[in-house]
Symmetry: D2
Subunit: 157 residues, 4 copies
């Protein structure tokens, strides 16, 4: 199922390298010798988790259904325009962020607000509905950063 | 939007009275003079919340899309058979339960396990996909029970 | 730190075997060949997680501080009598339950309501304040059960 | 109990006006005519919630116990130095943020990272342990901002 998740991310315009760039930006201040390959490994470990896979696949399915008009109203319009009070995207994202503990929440909120890297690109896309995808990418990046922090602090990396 | 939520619940086979029965069952041991109308009022207050409305509408939309084969694989099969490790339904449900604080979590888990009342009916339905709906109903009942507990303990009812 | 957690659990009256008994009770219906040693291994893996260790140590510290009168009012009395609306114990517990995804939430709520095994003993103790400990034990058991379900379903055990 | 919460916030160096400044900074870009009094009213409504009151009182009690050396090791040292992997402060904060739905999470993470206003002052204090307090203030501000957004979007303000 992990391959399916990577494939669907790519189909929606997200390369793992795009996420690794964000993770590197988040953590380089704390670990100046952080390698890009460590970021990619962390993302791979996050995408290994079943809970993460299901959240990503469900979110992308909702984005695509909204794009194709395949949802009943009023949820169709809500997802299509990413209505400000709609928080189900953040709910799914937090299920990912929580996998490595709550320290990932801080990065998630920061990324969601600052729209760094690919997150900004997704957010301003006019070709796709990315209501869920931008939050999912921010969540995968935050969980990966949390995993690196855990490994570094407990001496495993 | 609240009317739309009530309408979609009814269309999927859930009457507010069914939920009130569960709330009454949950709380009668603590408040022997609990009226059914108090349960219905609490449910109405819960359904007033935007976060609850969005969670319910999104979950029902996913159940219906799965029913109609309108989701990409592998998430389609996952939702159709309510795969044991799939937890996105619980994630949406917890967003409802948390509205009145974490005391609702206990009732939610209990209801989800014991499949009381309409929850059991939904769970064993062979005509509809109810992967999300059973958890949503358990969550609405738990949040309503939490609301009643808050009102009783703080002397508002 | 893991040894410290086990030591403090034991000091407060909880043996790992007590938790394993609960995990076994939860999962035997799904996996009839489930060994007690598998349950103990799962608990060990859960207690390896830093997030779990911190939640347990913080909760036990609050129970002990309440016992010794070492908290300011009104939180002292609130923790001492496990006030019905106090939900911080459930909040800490959910941080544990979420480590293996939201499927653990159902068992947690069930255990918290049914007070199975050592959870019931803790809940009715008159010698100790166990406001946090009963929920922490229910959470460790639920997370361990979720870990077993993940391993079984993905073919790792 | 609300008066006790306000009193303890003030005793630890946090005025409601400090929190209102943060809320105003967060929301002025979206609602240019936002009054400071609307921010103060929203904070007041947030502090009315029992779940919020308990989270704040518990967090402050832990900060004070750590300050006075009144916790067992190793949690004492962990809270005193605000160890990077310690996430119980974020857990308590999220219980507050979730009260008005998950849209508050984004602001919370942003505030926690950028240390805006009083949050920065608390974070760099050398006189007090503020491991919990900085996150609690960020959470109250985020929940208040979410409340304002709900009121504005649903036409209630
Ligand atoms: Ca979004
Ligand atoms: Ca379900
Ligand atoms: Ca308890
Ligand atoms: Ca902190």
């Amino acid at each position: 199922m992990k391959d399916k998740v990577k494939e669907q991310l790519r189909d929606r315009g997200v390369e793992l390298q795009d996420i690794a760039d964000i993770v590197h930006t988040l953590q380089i201040a704390y670990y100046p010798d952080l390698l890009m390959s460590t970021c990619l490994d962390a993302i791979d470990a996050v995408l290994e988790k079943r809970e993460v896979q299901y959240a990503v696949l469900t979110g992308i399915a909702l984005d695509m259904a909204a794009e194709q008009g395949n949802l009943p109203e009023p949820i169709l319009g809500t997802v299509q325009i990413d209505e400000p009070l709609y928080g189900v995207d953040e709910i799914l994202a937090m299920a990912i962020t929580n996998i490595y503990g709550t320290i990932g929440i801080t990065s998630f909120g920061y990324l969601d607000k600052m729209k760094i890297g690919i997150i900004g690109t997704l957010d301003s896309s006019k070709e796709q509905v990315n209501t869920f995808l931008d939050d999912l990418v921010a969540a995968i990046a935050s969980a990966s950063a949390a995993k690196i922090a855990h490994a570094k602090e407990t001496g495993l990396v």
